[in-house]
């Protein structure tokens, strides 16, 4: 009898304490932790070794949180002509990579940049290039052509890590930008 009472008391107390969490939209428990995490990294880093190996052998393995699921689906269904290159994969490998990309796509992520990317895409659009997305263009609109397409060490906006020194860690902060041949980017 005594123990039943004690258990009820504990259950009640825990219930009362979690109420603000359940009610609040801001997710008050994790708010602080999330903030910390987003400070050091603004897109989730690439964790899948198969994806890193298969896709990362020709170009930087772009974090899946930079494109929405519909884009990844379209990309993965056209690997025979992958921006002019042949990037065919066997069915099993392709399926495994697709699954990773789809479960970690921009709209599935709560990282700051991922949210910005997915929010800036029109529902009727299926962008194939990260650099075609409105948010990306907005963030790069001050960069002159001489620093990117006319810069032999960069060549195109597709080489994130040519300038974003911490791109592989999911960090795209402008303080960590160094443009080859031009130096540190100062806004």
């Amino acid at each position: 009898m005594k123990s039943t009472l004690a258990i009820s008391a504990i259950v009640f107390t825990v219930g009362i304490l979690t109420l603000p969490v359940v009610w609040s939209d801001n997710d008050f428990r994790w708010g602080k932790m999330e903030e910390q995490r987003h400070k050091s990294s603004d897109v989730a880093t690439v964790t899948n070794p198969l994806y890193k190996d298969e896709c990362g052998s020709c170009h930087m393995a772009y974090p899946p949180g930079l494109l929405p699921a519909k884009s990844w689906r379209k990309l993965m269904s056209g690997l025979e002509d992958h921006f002019g290159d042949n990037a065919e994969l066997d069915v099993q490998t392709a399926e495994s990579i697709s699954q990773y990309l789809l479960t970690n796509s921009a709209e599935q992520s709560d990282y700051r940049r991922s949210r910005k990317f997915s929010q800036s895409i029109k529902s009727s659009d299926i962008p194939l290039r990260i650099s075609d997305i409105h948010y990306f263009k907005h963030e790069h609109d001050e960069i002159p052509q001489s620093m990117v397409s006319d810069n032999p060490q960069v060549k195109s906006f597709s080489q994130c890590n040519a300038c974003h020194e911490k791109a592989e860690q999911g960090v795209f902060n402008e303080h960590d930008v160094r443009i080859p041949g031009f130096g540190k980017w100062d806004d």
Partner: protein, 138 residues
């Protein structure tokens, strides 16, 4: 409990062990190509094909293996489009090369299609393998 853990670790690691050490990869593939009519692997012809230029439509009109891998197999290459560094092809400086049938098949398929505009024949693949394997002699 500890035993179950050990067994699981062992069972999981076995396939990876196999994936890394694939003895006689090149010989096995040469046997496959021989069964398709390519009886002798000619490294000299492999080298010639490696350096031959093919014309294509699109962004890069003249293409060859050397476009990305360079003509010196002991040197690192660079992807013509993405600029990404490609590790040397020669097993003498990069022992990881020519150790996985799956990888060789994958890259032959993709890169022949891009460079030559078609898949390579058994004879061409056989020659190229012989060239990469014995690059220092040619």
């Amino acid at each position: 409990m500890k035993n179950t853990f050990l067994m699981t670790t062992l069972l999981i690691s076995v396939p990876f062990g196999f994936a890394q050490a694939e003895p006689n990869t090149v010989n096995n593939l040469l046997t496959v190509y021989a069964a398709q009519g390519a009886n002798t692997a000619d490294a000299q012809r492999g080298k010639a094909l490696w350096q031959k230029t093919f014309m294509a439509k699109g962004e890069f009109t003249s293409r060859s293996c050397a476009s990305c891998h360079t003509q010196d197999l002991t040197q690192p290459g660079k992807h013509v489009k993405t600029n990404k560094q490609i590790k040397p092809m020669a097993p003498s400086v990069n022992p990881q090369r020519l150790t996985s049938v799956k990888k060789i098949n994958k890259w032959f398929k993709r890169n022949c299609k891009w460079t030559l505009g078609r898949e390579c024949t058994a004879q061409e693949k056989s020659n190229i393998l012989a060239y990469i394997e014995n690059e220092s002699k040619f």
